[in-house]
């Protein structure tokens, strides 16, 4: 057995592999054109330990389709760069509930991975949807201390617009997850 290759920071110039259209998973000329489901925007601001915005992060998402499937042909991947205000923004479909451990069910969620200068390895978290009746049964949320659970709950700003801010460090620090 050989250990996994060490991670290294993505650095400040990762935008050379940024393709801004990837932030729109439903784009007309993309792999999900015409996919069925509820169109949503997932957005939020990323801040650091001083509360300063992180304007140079690479943000990636990974999610199931509207029926909670990863093997349906829906391409549940997106990437975007945070802007000058530290804001990321994806256009996608609201995912369905996904099978969980032991024949359980995971509430609908979107994985968010963040890479940046100053992060020696990417950090991953999940965006859940506030108000979803299945949150109480989610086996991953159940592992997160109650007091910090809200850091994983996207809130609906208006119909179809969900916001989850991410705090890398300090007060209100986002809970990051490691499988």
């Amino acid at each position: 057995m050989t250990d996994a290759t060490a991670s290294q920071t993505a650095g400040p110039f990762w935008h050379m592999i940024d393709f801004p259209e990837w932030a729109d998973l439903l784009r007309a000329d993309g792999p999900n054109a015409g996919a069925a489901g509820e169109r949503i925007i997932l957005t939020g601001r990323i801040t650091d330990g001083d509360g300063a915005v992180v304007p140079d992060a690479m943000v990636e998402i990974w999610q199931a389709d509207a029926d909670g499937r990863y093997d349906s042909g829906f391409h549940g991947f997106g990437r975007c760069a945070t802007d000058g205000d530290g804001v990321y923004r994806f256009v996608t479909l609201k995912p369905g509930a996904v099978p969980g451990p032991g024949n359980g069910t995971q509430a609908p969620h979107i994985v968010i991975a963040i890479f940046a200068r100053g992060l020696m390895a990417g950090v991953m978290t999940r965006a859940y949807f506030s108000g979803d009746a299945r949150l109480g049964d989610d086996p991953v949320l159940a592992l997160v201390p109650q007091a910090r659970r809200a850091t994983l709950l996207a809130r609906q700003q208006k119909s179809g617009l969900w916001r989850l801010d991410i705090r890398l460090q300090g007060e209100g620090e986002t809970v990051f997850l490691a499988a």
């Binding site: 060490a6 792999p31 650091d48 099978p99 451990p101 020696m120």
Partner: protein, 234 residues
Amino acid sequence: MSDPIPYRPIAAGSQPPLDLPSYRSTGKRHPMAAPVHIPTTLTEASAPNFATPWYAPHTNLSVVDGKAAMGERIIVAGRVTDENGRPVPNAMVEVWQANASGRYHHARDQHDAPLDPNFLGRGRVITDAEGQYRFTSIRPGAYPWRNPGPGWRPQHIHFGLHGTGFAQRLITQMYFPGDPLLVMDAVFLGGGDEAARERLVAVLDPELMQPDWALGYRFDIVLRGRAATPFENA
């Protein structure tokens, strides 16, 4: 539905700490709390399929519109496997790098070194059935940075990989053997224990060289593997 086989825990010393005081930018960006460990669910064990027309390979970085970039032409190739030694086919390998004079084709790179109109410095390869990838490029130059005092990054190529599970996502950097800047680079030195750092350094490989044309470097990459084989688990 049976549960996915869990990924192995991260081996001690194999990965950098997020809090790395010698690399100043980690100071306000590393989480204070340890991550919450979660089971490997279908979400972590699944991954995007990049072997589609939307992710067309771009494997020759050494020319733009048929015009050759300045610098030392190199072939970089290797094999992507998991920790169990199994090849990872259809993995997306993305690379980006500075040009021969140490400047990125990036608006925010203000290093006073010339841009090369024939070098954009980004590429994409999808691994074959044996996990192999290969591209042609130019050996990147070293460049200055502030950390916060002045220093020089060793020559390196950034690599990003997606495997068969999203938990395998990796971003790393490939370095060149014998680079004297390695021993004073906080990012390289912070990459884990000596064995982990050694694996970040490519190997000059005569078999990859093309006579009268290009030097060849081999850089094999290992993604996280599952804790047990399906057979052991059956």
